[in-house]
Symmetry: C2
Subunit: 386 residues, 2 copies
Amino acid sequence: MIDVYQKMIDVCHLAGLASGLSGEMGPLQPGGNVSGPTLADVAHAAGVSYATADRVVNKRGNVAQKSIDKVRDAVTRLGYVRNVAAANLSRQRVYRLAFLIPTGTNAFFNRVREHILQTADHFSSDSVTVDIVDVPAFSVDALHACIGQLTAYDFDGVAIVGLQSVTLEKPLADLRTRGVEVIGLVSDLPREFRSAYIGIDNTVAGRTAARMTGIGNRDRGGIIQTFAGSLNARDHAERLQGFRDVIAADFPQMSVLDPILTKDDPAVLRDAANSALQADQPVSAFYNVGAGNVGLIQAIRETPGSRPFCVVHELVAHSKQALIDNHIDLVIDQRPDVEVNRAFAQLRALIDRREPPPAPDLMPTIYVQDNLPANTFNSATDTQIT
Amino acid sequence: MIDVYQKMIDVCHLAGLASGLSGEMGPLQPGGNVSGPTLADVAHAAGVSYATADRVVNKRGNVAQKSIDKVRDAVTRLGYVRNVAAANLSRQRVYRLAFLIPTGTNAFFNRVREHILQTADHFSSDSVTVDIVDVPAFSVDALHACIGQLTAYDFDGVAIVGLQSVTLEKPLADLRTRGVEVIGLVSDLPREFRSAYIGIDNTVAGRTAARMTGIGNRDRGGIIQTFAGSLNARDHAERLQGFRDVIAADFPQMSVLDPILTKDDPAVLRDAANSALQADQPVSAFYNVGAGNVGLIQAIRETPGSRPFCVVHELVAHSKQALIDNHIDLVIDQRPDVEVNRAFAQLRALIDRREPPPAPDLMPTIYVQDNLPANTFNSATDTQIT
DNA sequence: CATTTTTTGATAGACGTCGATCATTTTCTC
DNA sequence: GAGAAAATGATCGACGTCTATCAAAAAATG
């Protein structure tokens, strides 16, 4: 009845009603020894001293090859895993993390910031220290300078809201040669110069928006007015591309107008939305790939009568409220809270040189007014979104 | 350029071990002392011995109130957080966890199982052992017996896919008096007899399904045929209720037919769906609150021409495929992988008597064919779902 | 073979906490 | 104010790892 797997995981099947329930079933000794072998055990099994075993596992050098082999063998034979807690305790390991986040009164990044603070607070009992570094938004030069400065502090890991630019490659390479783990967050860095990317695929986000827009307009067809901050912004361009692809392929009865470029400015967006709402040819859907939704929502609120089907990105205070008030239909969100959690886990795993915890892919989440998280987004400032 | 930004960079450092501290601004000292105060420091600051401080923080009793106050005060003043790594090392803490999961060839619970195994594997290096206990599905008696047996083994925490029954109260109470932490997973236990519930609100799930159905049928209105396994199943009833509420309130042009009861049997569902498809009055939408979607999908696949708008629950191999093949429109999923992760975190937090990590509410997730996770669900058996 | 170099063994102190024990001091009770 | 009870202080040995140091042994070198 009780299967015991090799590792430390014993999966035990207590008999259900079917087979006799009589009394206590077999083993699974309550006080059983569950803690694994120590390095001392390994040394003993390998027939070497603790010191030698230590030299091997910590790569201190000056060990004969045959000793290395003996120890390696014993490690695998006994299934030794080093006790991270003890190790960190001993060397007073402190995980020094830094997050490079764009500045500004951007509601989305305020959400990111908030969650970093919360998470940092929680992990403080695990000796994790966190620095949030403000970087002027969307400036390659500023980001470059910032990354360059990081080498002055001895961080163990850095999460960067990145930009795609060859300029960044050098400072990133410098960082990594100093043993700092680097990951991209929300927006990727040059591929070869980071260990991981934590963020969504923006093409997928655009496709998802398109699917929902299509579903919401199956019968009426019609015209979709799109908005974007700038087509130079990679994420905006990708979302738009994904959106167009799906509409063209699966909802041919609808047509997608070229995006109105708003620079993510709510005022611009408001004016643009207003003129679209008053156009001769009625627009049946709005899709804003970028930020500035406050303006879009205002325009909609000001216009009486029925409104176009409306999809925007990123759940923040005002987009959440607009969902509740029925001013927009859907919010496609990238769950920055989940991303931040993942970033912490990933950085710690990289620093400890172990596998990151199993976790599903990050996929854009669809919010309607009914599946909204209760957590309030109390960021005072909510002008932009990205 | 670089010099310009040298002073613009604003680094906010969050001291790792100062618990309540929000970020203190200012530059970092690269080699700065980051490790926080120890219990010895606290004792000294409080003007008591280490032993007394220890007695206070570990609640060993036999301490005068004024000593307790002095220590508590020093703790908050210094921002002492106990070093979990050291503590666990010292007491050779092993987290013995058990998951009680219904048996059967249920694709959804296979997903749960798989993720438990993966997560357990990962945490094995953190001294976490996991037992998966198979319980005959939906049987209060079996669950009762199983919980009763748990007291024989000294688990530290147990996650139970629960049932609502007063019968369970006694064994649960027994477990908890023995110091075992109990949480409900996916399906709740009697409220007073568990420390937390990890799962979605099924009313919300139903509401979400309704919202999407409404959006997908705004103009055509029409009839919605619902399916349920059994109305005695609490989750099924709740989903249906949420669904009806939203349709009635926000999409009055649609009407909801009483559910066809399928016992979650694919064959039954297939027949029911087929007759609905051939009914005189055309049905414009299907909503299955329960399992057995294989049958529903078969019926749809067999019927030529356009099909009703189709919403089901739980993303598993076949529902995923059906989304891709355009046989259904939406899957409302409760992200069992996220739930399992949360269960681990919650149990560990409860056992350590500390705050669980910050995490957003669990909300039903909406999948369309574009935002599907790449992870394959390789469960061979996929008969049922809920 | 003598000398240098490389490789080993033995061991010690630290990390911060836990769970003890035992002796001492303070407080309470009558 | 004596005796009992409660509270406190002092200290010890774990836990498993890391980082040393020093001496001893083995291997390589000329």
